[in-house]
């Protein structure tokens, strides 16, 4: 299923919103805009789901996410013309563990994970290519990355209870349906199976019996006599949240090459990156720490970012404080840091208002004080996961 961002944020610099700006002036005392360039903000440092895309600086409009080994092979062979060329504008993301089915694995086997199981179940591989040059001087970029959770925390007790209650509801629903079906199944069995005398006849009759049961189930479902509670169960299923809590740690790394003229043998190492995100998530309080190292081939602009965020959530609001520091090699300007407070308030299940205030990276530059208001709209309608509350 999807690992795309859960919600899209619209942030409005304070000076562009007159009415709300007055309130924030009272709080901050200064009008300033967020930096449009420079070091990434806190969430920008978090371990990306597909580091390859970040290294290449692309946001692919379509990402191949094969679900089976054969789909995976087909994607690779198709994009690379049977491995004869470097694909153009290609993006792929896959989790090897989930390419295969696990028919004997219950959700209870995943409440807790040791390190090996965590790596096995969370490892994702991503790869991307993009055209980085011009039509006169084409340069094909290629990036490959991996990501895994070394520690995955555990499924909260409240979630375990919620799933158990839901499964009990499924069993009760199944009982209601089977009670309705049983007398008619018995009649079908007498009609179709009783006359069979040989083994071959019995097997053929069994197939007809299965078909007849299928027809009956379809008929009774269409008439509303079966599955009367299906919509209720579907609704309950969408409320199941499988987020984990406790100590979580993500590790990701990737490498990017550039290939002039799109020739694979001309590819040179361009940049690489390593991300580490650790967090401890409890029902109301979360702590997130992170580090990112971005290296470039000439070694002059390697950058190290370190950040931390403390989040408190309650009912409809969340309050957090965050710090991000950056060190760039060969940078005469010296180290930079950012300190900010963030308040988020849930107006409706799909709409959050957020405010950010604090100090941006360069305290000498105009606009180093932060004051922003924004809206976060949960467009995907997926289960809400508070930004920053955990990987």
């Amino acid at each position: 299923m999807n690992r795309i961002p859960r919600h899209r944020a619209f942030t409005v610099p304070l000076q562009r919103t007159v009415a709300t700006g007055v309130a924030w002036l009272l709080v901050t005392g200064t009008i300033a805009s967020a930096q449009d360039e420079g070091p990434a903000d806190f969430n920008g440092l978090r371990t990306p789901s597909s580091p390859a895309f970040v290294l290449l600086g692309v946001e692919p409009s379509s990402v191949e996410r094969p679900n089976t080994p054969s789909d995976f092979a087909a994607s690779i062979l198709s994009a690379s013309s049977n491995l004869s060329s470097l694909p153009k504008d290609f993006a792929l993301e896959t989790s090897p563990y989930w390419l295969l089915g696990h028919p004997r694995r219950s959700w209870r086997d995943d409440i807790k994970r040791n390190v090996l199981k965590s790596i096995e179940r969370t490892f994702t591989l991503s790869a991307a290519t993009a055209e980085l040059g011009t039509s006169d001087a084409p340069v094909r970029g290629l990036a490959v990355s991996g990501r895994m959770s070394l520690f995955s925390g555990r499924v909260p007790d409240s979630t375990v209870k919620q799933i158990e209650q839901f499964e009990q509801a499924l069993a009760a629903s199944a009982a209601a349906d089977i009670e309705r079906l049983e007398p008619t199944f018995a009649a079908l069995q007498r009609q179709l199976l009783a006359p069979a005398r040989t083994k071959e006849d019995s097997l053929a009759a069994l197939d007809r019996y299965t078909e007849a049961r299928g027809d009956l189930i379809a008929q009774l479902t269409e008439s509303g006599e079966l599955g009367a509670d299906t919509e209720v169960l579907r609704d309950e299923a969408t409320k199941l949240v499988t987020a984990r809590e406790g100590f979580l740690m993500d590790l990701a790394g990737g490498v990017a090459w550039s290939a002039p003229s799109a020739a694979l043998d001309s590819a040179d190492l361009d940049r690489w990156g390593v991300w580490v995100t650790g967090s401890y998530t409890m029902p109301q309080v979360s702590f997130v720490g992170m580090a990112r190292y971005l290296g470039v081939a000439d070694g002059e602009d390697d950058a190290v970012d370190i950040g931390a965020r403390l989040i408190y959530t309650r009912d409809r609001y969340a309050v957090s404080a965050e710090y991000v520091g950056r060190h760039v090699t060969e940078d005469a300007a010296g180290d930079q840091w950012r300190l900010a407070g963030v308040i988020e308030y849930r107006v409706s299940p799909d709409l959050w208002i957020n405010g950010t205030f604090g100090r941006s990276y360069d305290d000498e530059a105009r606009g180093s004080l932060l004051a922003q208001l924004g809206l976060s709209l949960n467009l995907s309608k997926q289960r809400y996961e508070l930004a920053g509350a955990g990987p």
């Binding site: 199944a174 019996y209 049961r213 269409e222 579907r234």
Partner: protein
């Protein structure tokens, strides 16, 4: 085995013979796999038994109670709750007959979708 999609829900439907002896005491185990949520109930000789939420080594007939010539209808409802996969699977295991029988089924559903597994076992000598 047949698969019917009815009102957006795939129904996996199958019928099986399971060979027993005169005095066999049969047990059933139902495992919902692929880390998904599911619950099972069955009917046997007009009695409906609700799973908790499924069955592990659950005796179908009592000691000495004849089972040959009877039929058990199982229904398992499964819901996709995993973000990593939409695969669902159910494995029915019968023990106590002439030999152990394992009957695995699986189907992929839509995101947050449901699947119904309707499996009937006919006990024969």
């Amino acid at each position: 085995m047949i698969v019917r999609e009815i009102r957006g829900i795939p129904h996996v439907i199958d019928s099986r013979f399971y060979q027993v002896k005169k005095n066999s005491q049969v047990t059933i185990t139902v495992e919902v796999g692929d880390f998904q949520a599911g619950g099972t109930s069955y009917s046997w000789k007009g009695r409906t038994v609700i799973g908790n939420p499924n069955f592990t080594g659950h005796p179908v007939n009592g000691p000495g109670e004849p089972i040959s010539g009877t039929t058990m209808h199982c229904l398992t409802k499964v819901t996709d709750m995993r973000p990593e996969t939409n695969q669902t699977s159910v494995t029915y295991t019968l023990e106590g007959g002439v030999q152990e029988g394992s009957y695995p089924y699986g189907i992929e559903v839509v995101e947050d979708g449901m699947a119904n597994y309707q499996i009937t076992f006919i006990f024969t000598e």
